[in-house]
């Protein structure tokens, strides 16, 4: 058994329906508070994204490589905080579900119940917390479940077989299949571990499996989607936003969408 019996959250319900209809899922990541971030999300939604992962900038992003580190630092230097990001997220009039990617101290500091409620008020339906492994997840997951926030768990290539079903069982929304041993960032090729882990997960769960970390361009997204139900695009999106602005994000998302339409 995976996830809850019959009642999935909004994101998982939509993802399952789209998968059933033969569509691969595309989730771009945008650092909240970067100049142009709202326009980037609107552009991504219009270009075929199925959900958006909003990164909440943190001072010590241990799972992130240079691009997202720099984006976080820029946002923090500009004085951005979660109140500002949540207020601006609420103004987003996109049709697709919004998730946050945030480090655990942001939640811990705000308080579990309070943070879950803040997400709900901001119209955000899911959370991804890369430094909160299964064993430490209960306090947050309890609060998130109570507020109807879907918590996406990460699965890594290092996980032994017995661990994967336990992770999948705790996943809401989708399972984040970590593509490689390493931090976020662009790589010249898709690691073999990306499709290996996605295949291992597909074999043990019917929760949608999305590959993230090290899926760096449209070709790699296509390769990952031969096995997985979809992909998360992080550094490649954020880099375009920082270097070329929101329109470039829209163009890139359209390119990836085309590549994963089989």
């Amino acid at each position: 058994m995976t996830a809850t019996d019959t009642t999935f959250g909004r994101m998982e319900t939509e993802f399952r329906a789209k998968r059933a209809a033969g569509r691969k899922l595309l989730v771009p990541y945008v650092t909240g508070g970067l100049p142009g971030w709202q326009q980037a999300i609107r552009a991504a939604a219009a270009a075929g994204a199925d959900a958006i992962e909003i990164g909440l900038p943190f001072s010590d992003p241990v799972m992130d490589g240079p691009v997202i580190q720099e984006a976080s630092q820029r946002a923090l230097d500009a004085g951005v905080n979660i109140n500002i990001i949540f207020d601006q997220a609420r103004e987003l009039d996109v049709e697709i579900p919004l998730a946050v990617m945030c480090y655990y101290n942001t939640i811990h500091h705000a308080g579990h119940e309070r943070f879950a409620h803040m997400l709900d008020v901001a119209g955000i339906v899911a959370a991804i917390v890369p430094d909160l492994p299964l064993e430490e997840s209960a306090p947050w997951c309890t609060a998130a479940d109570a507020e109807g926030i879907e918590t996406v768990m990460l699965a890594a290539p290092t996980a032994p077989d017995e661990r994967l079903p336990r992770i999948a069982a705790r996943c809401r929304g989708f399972v984040y299949s970590v593509g490689l041993l390493g931090v976020t960032g662009e790589r010249t090729s898709l690691a073999a571990s990306a499709t290996n882990l996605a295949a291992r997960l597909k074999a043990i769960t019917d929760v949608p499996v999305l590959v993230g970390v090290g899926v760096s361009n449209a070709d790699q997204a296509r390769e990952a989607c031969r096995v997985a139900d979809g992909v998360i695009q992080g550094a490649s999106v954020v880099k375009r936003l920082m270097d070329h602005g929101p329109e470039a994000v829209g163009e890139y998302v359209a390119e990836v969408r085309a590549a994963i339409t089989f």
Partner: protein, 386 residues
Amino acid sequence: MSIMAEPSAEGRFGEFGGRFVPETLVPACQELEAAFREAWSDPSFIAELDNLLREYAGRPSILTECHNLGAQLGIRLLLKREDLNHTGSHKINNVLGQALLAKRMGKTRLVAETGAGQHGVASATAAALLGMTCKVYMGAVDVERQGLNVFRMHLLGSEVEAVHSGSRTLKDAVNEAMRDWVANVGETHYCLGSVMGPHPYPWMVREFHRVIGKEAFAQCNDLLGSPPDVVVACVGGGSNAMGIFSGFVDTPARLIGVEPAGGAAVGRGIPGVVHGMRSYLMQDEYGQVQEAHSISAGLDYPGVGPEHSYLASIGRAEYPTVTDAEVIEAFQMMARSEGIIPALECAHAMAWIAREAPTMQGQTVLMNLSGRGDKDVNQMMEILGG
């Protein structure tokens, strides 16, 4: 049972500790915990480590009574001389333990973070001795102010990478070392330098430093016939303090961990989660980790080991602060009165003792002199104007 016993199965000391790491590292932490547990109950591992500590690091370290300072301050002052260990600080105790364990686990490469450079030098030393490769991450600010130790690490055959992200000090070096570990977890052991990080590090590093407290307890017993009244150590992450506290936590001695005023995790912090652990942490109203500011690179850390947070929360240890100005004064006082140049980190402990001596008249105070001050001489020359 000792107050400083094994943490819970989840790696908790009271409500502190735990294992807040990316999923990729969970199996590595579990594997490390199992390997340490097994090695630490294996007499052959203990004998091998003891042998290295004795014949390579130069243990046991001596206890020095400071008659001059004692007379000046009206106290009996004893120093545990960890500065006399090979590589010049207590850090070698932990590093030899971890490097031996890493070899036993089949790892061929060490990564380490360093602040003042003492842990980096110790790691580079152990890697050279045991035939492993080693990469040390060091904040760019610290590379600047600890040039001598950077060169030492190069001499010892290690690679040193200056970290330019965030505050460019110790906390950012930890982030970068963790990122390296995530990417290279198969062959690499993260040789963490303090009683911090995810379980089992705070416990394991404390166990490797327990030798300090064990020796000091026996030495005090020989000299005094009883434990001292007060045990004092500086606290950044808190490994030297944990080492010496472990020998006296179950005695009536007061335990004092001295933090820099600009890096007072226990004093000004509230519980937070960073670097794999839940502990007191300097952070802003949104949970962003704040930058520590101290004259001493080794104490420039906004967090603290979780067991220190636990000892503070139950009132067993006290965590006062001293200012940079008090530290500069204490550094010179120790040099002039005793002919010992302390590391700036340890000068924090001395500064607290000098300030509080009037309230401790006639008492016996044991201070952990965890490192020697050679590395700080250039910096002090700039401050004092040669």
